[in-house]
Amino acid sequence: MSDILKIEPIDNWLKKNNWSFYNHQVETVKLSENGFDVLLVAPTGGGKTLAGFLPSLKDLINNKSEKNKLHTLYISPLKALTIDVHRNLTSPIEDQGLDIRVETRTGDTSAYKKNRQKILPPHMLMTTPESLALLLSNKESKDYFKDLKYVIIDEIHVLVNSKRGDLLSLNLSRIHSISPDCKRIGLSATVKNKETVLKFLTSKNKAKILNVKETSFPKIEILETKTRVPWSGHMASYAIEDIYQKIQKSSLTIVFVNTRAQAELVFNKLWQENDNNLRIAIHHGSLEKEIRRKVENLMSLGKIDCVVATSSLDLGIDWGDVDLVIQIGSPKGISRFLQRIGRSNHKFDEPSNAILVPSNRFEYLECLSAIHSIQNKLLDETREKKGSLDVLAQHVLGVACSEPFEVDDLYNQVINAWPYRNLTKTKFLEVVEFVKNGGYSLKHYEQYSKIGLNKDKLYAINNKSVRNRYKLNVGTIVESYMLNVKLGNKTLGQVEEWFIEGLNEGDTFLFGGRVLEYQSISNNNIIVKSTSHTHPKIPSYAGGRLPLSTELSIEVRKLLSKKQFWKNFPNQINEWLKLQSKFSNLPSLNGLLVETFPRLMSGKKRFFLICYTFEGRNANQTLGFLMSKKMLRIGYKPISFVATDYALAIWSMNEVKEVNSVLNEDLMLDDLYEWLEETPLLKKNFRDAAIISGLIERSIPGLKKTGKQVLFNSDLIFNVLKKHEPKHLLLEVAREDSYRGLIDLDRLSEFLKRIEKNITHKKLDRISPLAVPLILEINRQTIDKSEMEEYFLEELENEMLSEVGLN
């Protein structure tokens, strides 16, 4: 087969290793040579990356392209992936002594190297969407990209419906305007709607999907443990011993967890269990990059037995021969789980091995459903997303930094990017106005405009400092304020500021796999010391937990509603469900089960209302906000609520007797707009949009709470803007993001439609078996609504007054 390709050095390299080309690799080359843009959809381990590079390699080898011209651009969502691919590609190039220079360029690349790359571009450059945006904002960018022949986008499916994807899409369109003949190749994992991914990749008609079918099916089981699956929790501590046994029997295991906190805890517990001195490492996003690199290297050298990892290892990186994947907690989505399973036996035609470890009882049901879905080839859907205007604002400024632009030209370039294809000219002009001077109807900042028309009637930046500031603010990921964790002179990594706010001197926490004692905070540093404590206070990051996917949630409801499935459940789960059906009811496939019961909480009688929706944490949270609002109006005095992936629990001072009065489709959605305006979510999204669009700078000094000075708070701006310009661009962005993201409005509307006239209300005199995990889960999530706050303050004040005998 290899003779078809006629790339001698590569053929030789393959022969030497006793390898040959896969069909899809040959196909990719053919299609690309015939002028097609190609989307290659294949399971992991199918030689996908090499397929992506073959057309470009062939061209470089056979057509001896000019020196010092950028020929191929490889873009991946992960820095680590660029490095990994760089390594894999260097191997045939060096082996065959080819004159092809391959380099990476990411946020971690040294200024020296970046400068060199500017003067002497490599043939192939591997980069991220953010670094690409920066490159394109350089004055010389047109010259730099004009000879570009190929763009390869790896793991493109994860970029499609995100702001990072918007940014990439805009920049691809820009590259197209600079180098119109450049071909694109997208590499994607198996997804449900491939057509959408293809459209995101290219607007050309000459474009094709190459779909590689799976040839083997993963072997997945749920871990059998000696101990019972606990009622609640996310840490799966109960199963550590059994997990350790499995690790021992395999040569290289990845233990996937969903949060950094889980990673810390599981890592620690495994070491406590580690009598045989297995080499167990940890890998997550907030560890210093040197530490992560070290772990990655050890993995590829086979010098490690097990790695506990978060999504930082999700994507297609080949680090050694993993033969077992253990997933702790539910994977929350089918596609994500498949991707993780794909880490094991990273070879095309051998089955992967995976073990699921549910951390609580609801998760047990979820894990069963996930296995069922994979067996039946049900995949999660990638939802489409409209291009965000804050990202566009960033892009417009970036373009102005690189060269003066003509409004119509840029508009046409922008609507050529798939997420922005429906953008109106009016909206586009609004964005340009915003970039210019904030887009306020009060023309207050004309004199300070960032961009303005030059003598050729083109928009250009008004001074050089605009470019410098733009460079500091590129990107669509807005992180919480981070602090460095310092042990002596060594920086161990970073944690979010709010986590430390809850710590007192002497408190201990797990970080980077060690127990640390918090001592003090100075500037941006958290000063810690090592300690021999064994019961640390655990860092819990709220971020990083994805909601249960719609597809998986349907499977869980199916499982619950059909008693004939239960016989396969372990006894404890079976008994739990039987008890529930005796005591109350079981959730049905299409209806909604609601339970109400009284219960003491901190010594006071409260009334609980539980809705078993199974619609994911985000939709449940929104439902919780809306229902509390309604309850407040009716006078039930809601206190707070907790939303999990499965259910919503609200507790109030007065009893809700008629569920229909607080759960009703029309009334609920009427409230939504009004409610959204008050929620902290809108404020958070506003802050993100303000940063992405450049209204507030990432590095604004006011954010550091030092000394007696004011901290600049985006909430204050938000309130003023809402009052004076309620239709301002950034408010529009914040609203859209809220509806789409954490509010999960689509899902909630579908849910309300589905359950209409299908609500079963069970009035109980005490907590039901199904509600036990929820009540245990109740933590500090509360309604952040000023009216609610008044209750607490009133109560708190009364409490204290009576304490001192004044009430």
Partner: protein, 221 residues
């Protein structure tokens, strides 16, 4: 409003953060930081330029029905020395109407310098009946009403934490919260406020709806 007895005089604090001395027909307000928003403009950060308008309107609305003759502004009325030059017409009209309707006393704050802002006559301090009105509290036994620190406090119920602007009241100090729309806060747990917090200190937390009184023992320190 809540009553505060201070040096045998009766003061009242409104939930907006204005301290009233009705016997003398005086309203006392701290840290307006007018034109803080536009101060970021020259560096290309275009914050919504409506903060001064909000701040001034809120003052006028809060005091209009209280038969007030005099307003004492406790310093940092202007965010910087160029603040007036950046004001919109609307803000200038509002500001004029404030100084025309009322006798306004300007105490000098650390954001201001004496001779550079318009025609305004800044005072280092102002005294009525042994009570000294100053920008930043001094650790002396003199009766003082001041601003400067922008104090906020956090209370924790068994369910949640609430942070709000607050007024501090000790034996010889009243420290007012900042009033300006774009002003942030400094938590009273910060060491610089330690000299003003003792067992007798009363903390009035101001929320949208009401005012709540705590002692420093009840606040999470």
């Amino acid at each position: 409003m809540k009553v505060i007895n201070f040096n045998n005089h009766k003061f009242q604090i409104s939930k907006e953060g204005i301290l009233f001395w009705f016997d003398k027909q005086i309203a006392i307000i701290a840290d307006l930081h007018l034109e803080k928003g536009s101060s970021f403009g020259p560096s290309g950060q275009f914050l919504p330029p409506y903060d001064s308008e909000e701040t001034l309107k809120k003052i006028l609305n809060t005091i209009k029905d209280h038969n007030i003759k005099k307003i004492i502004l406790l310093g940092d009325t202007f965010h910087d020395k160029n603040a007036i030059s950046r004001m919109s017409k609307k803000v200038i009209i509002l500001f004029r109407s404030l100084i025309e309707k009322y006798e306004v006393i300007f105490i000098l704050g650390n954001h201001e310098s004496k001779f550079e802002i318009g025609q305004i006559n800044f005072l280092n301090e102002y005294v009525i009946d042994d009570i000294h009105f100053i920008h930043e509290a001094l650790q002396t036994s003199v009766f003082q009403i001041s601003g400067h620190f922008h104090p906020v406090a956090t209370v924790k119920s068994n369910i949640k934490k609430i942070t709000a602007k607050c007024l501090l009241h000790t034996n010889n100090h009243i420290i007012l919260p900042s009033f300006g729309q774009y002003t942030g806060g400094l938590n009273i747990t910060n060491p610089v406020l330690k000299p003003f917090l003792n067992n007798e200190t009363k903390i009035y937390m101001l929320t949208k709806k009401s005012i709540y009184k705590f002692t420093s023992k009840e606040i999470e320190m």
